[in-house]
């Protein structure tokens, strides 16, 4: 689209979508912070991480953002000694998810901030379009 203001709306929308998906991933992590496996020695919930990439929209000459992947990076799980737990292995150790709630909470605040900023960009563009159209109003 050759209208930069329309392009701005599209860019902002892509930002909103990206940040929404990021928030969902964070929420999943937080909800599953204590989700262990069901059977002895089973893997617990693995933290998910979302990755973005920018994409140049040729027509609009603007950078939109896309979600590239939602991955589970390889890290070692925490281990706690809890014999009698359904997921305890032969020695009574249970592997717990590698989710740090503090980190997730901070990430969530960041994602909210980014979401609001994208919203603001969309509002600004919408205002500019409205201001232009208002020039044609006679009253």
């Amino acid at each position: 689209m050759l209208d930069p203001l329309q392009a701005t709306l599209r860019v902002g929308a892509s930002g909103l979508e990206a940040q929404s998906r990021r928030l969902r991933v964070i929420a999943e992590n937080m909800a599953n912070a204590h989700s262990t496996g069901r059977t002895p020695g089973a893997d617990p919930y693995a933290r998910r991480v979302i990755t973005f990439e920018s994409q140049l929209d040729e027509a609009a000459n603007a950078n939109i953002v896309r979600v590239v992947s939602i991955e589970q990076p390889r890290t070692t799980f925490r281990v706690e000694h809890m014999p009698g737990h359904p997921a305890a292995d032969a020695n009574g150790y249970v592997r717990l998810p590698n989710v740090d709630l503090v980190v997730e909470a901070a990430d969530m605040r960041e994602a909210n901030r980014s979401y609001e900023a994208n919203l603001q960009a969309i509002r600004q563009a919408r205002e500019m379009i409205t201001m232009t159209l208002d020039l044609l109003r006679t009253t």
Partner: protein, 109 residues
């Protein structure tokens, strides 16, 4: 663009402006005195009306392009605004010309 609101009639003599018709200049040119104008009055009026029609036609095509999405909002608004004030000026001049003609026709010979 010609400098507007110049009482000099030379402004009327150079109709090739960069943009639309500058009718304030034309009007003051008429008022200042037609004795100096190098352009024939009727020719000038014809040029005026054809240019006004052109500006309106351009506004129409840009508006259609805007609806189709091939023109930006800004382009549409600018074309329409230019048509508005060009047409307004042309109509004002036309009214004056018609009034003047009626005055003439009422003159006792």
């Amino acid at each position: 663009m010609i400098d507007p609101i110049t009482p000099s009639a030379t402004a009327v003599r150079s109709p090739a402006t960069a943009g639309g018709v500058d009718l304030t200049t034309v009007r003051t040119g008429l008022v200042a005195g037609s004795a100096e104008t190098g352009v024939d009055f009727s020719t000038m009026l014809t040029q005026l009306s054809s240019r006004a029609a052109g500006v309106v036609r351009n506004a129409e095509s840009v508006s259609i392009a805007g609806i189709q999405g091939t023109a930006t909002v800004q382009q549409v608004v600018e074309a329409v605004m230019a048509a508005e004030h060009t047409l307004q000026g042309a109509i004002a001049i036309r009214d004056k010309v018609v009034a003047a003609y009626l005055e003439l026709s009422r003159m006792q010979i």
